[in-house]
Symmetry: C2
Subunit: 186 residues, 2 copies
DNA sequence: GTGGATTTGTCGTGTATACAACACTTTTAA
DNA sequence: TTAAAAGTGTTGTATACACGACAAATCCAC
């Protein structure tokens, strides 16, 4: 276990950059945000941003992932069982997240954002599945995580379009067998 | 003119430290605040604090001066004429500042705080006097600044004790001749 | 008092950040 | 179309900050 702690300067600087990026996203469209804008807002040097992020797309990716994880992790990830209730809450959280994003004028980057969200969902689902399905094959769990993440993302988009007021029960019922794969076999 | 700009890292760090100090002052008495408390709150290393401040008393001094200057400078210092109106506003500002401090449990350091306030007042008055009394002797202006700062501080304390509702007109009338020394001679 | 624990202040070393300069690409304006 | 302006991404160097170790001072229970 070589878990060397990250330098607090790094954490501070990343937070400054990401916060500034999120802040600016509320004021301008993504395409109009320049590196200089961000570094000025964050009060850090331009070169320092490139020390942490490859370019502005990399920043977008990491900032969104971060926000997503903060929104999800502290709410119910620690509550490590992936049951129906948790599943519904993740669904609602994701949907709210997308709503707040669509208000923030990220037009033209929907696909990128969609991929980022699916990636994060997949990571979360996989981690939770691994915890409770220790006997299962790793490949099977990965596949399940992929299915669930794509499925949930699609359902979320569909649900927002239809502007219904309850989470789509159909999808949830469809997903439950996947969640329970390992449980049933025990 | 060798006015090299200060490194933004320095400004950031000083602000972090001072803000933490002010924040902690609201929760604990000064004597109970340790260096470790401050650096933990500020998320900076302990050694870094000593890079900027000699000790906790030096920090107290500089933090208070900073807060004072922020309270005063941006309000009316740029408005560079030291007339009666500005004088009254500085008086009110100082009095409010002392009030907010006395709520923050700096018990046992009243004398230190008093000195800091007078020092800052003196600096401000001197700068303003120099601007409008260019023909006056420097020594005379310094003396005037000293008189005004001690006078204003004392009047402020006296006024707070008496809990009257208007600034002490007597003191203001007394001070005006000092303010106008140069003007009258023009 | 005495000893352990906490705090203070300092120092040397490694690393993260600031900054200026640079070539390059993209926007803008005329 | 073209030139100026603004933005991007990289590099070398100087400096601020993190960290651990340390002795000395202060605090505090017994």
């Amino acid at each position: 276990m070589t878990e060397s702690k990250t330098d607090p300067r790094v954490l501070r600087t990343r937070k400054l950059i990401m916060d500034s990026f999120i802040e600016l996203s509320g004021k301008k469209e993504f395409k109009d945000i320049t590196i200089k804008d961000i570094t000025a807002e964050a009060m850090i040097n331009r070169a320092t941003l490139y020390y942490h992020f490859e370019d502005i797309y990399d920043l977008l990716e990491k900032a969104l992932s971060e926000v997503l994880l903060v929104n999800l992790n502290y709410d119910f990830y620690q509550n490590d069982e992936l049951n129906e209730e948790v599943f519904v809450r993740i669904f609602e959280s994701i949907t709210n997240f997308q709503k707040s994003l669509s208000n923030r004028c990220h037009r033209g980057y929907e696909d990128t954002i969609a991929r980022i969200i699916r990636d994060q969902l997949e990571i979360i689902f996989y981690k939770m599945l691994v915890k409770q399905h220790t006997t299962e094959k790793d490949e099977a769990l990965k596949l399940t995580a992929v299915l669930l993440s794509w499925g949930m993302y699609g359902a979320s988009v569909e649900w927002r379009r239809g502007s219904q007021k309850v989470p789509p029960e159909e999808f949830i019922k469809l997903a439950i067998p996947y969640i329970r794969t390992g449980i049933d076999k025990r």
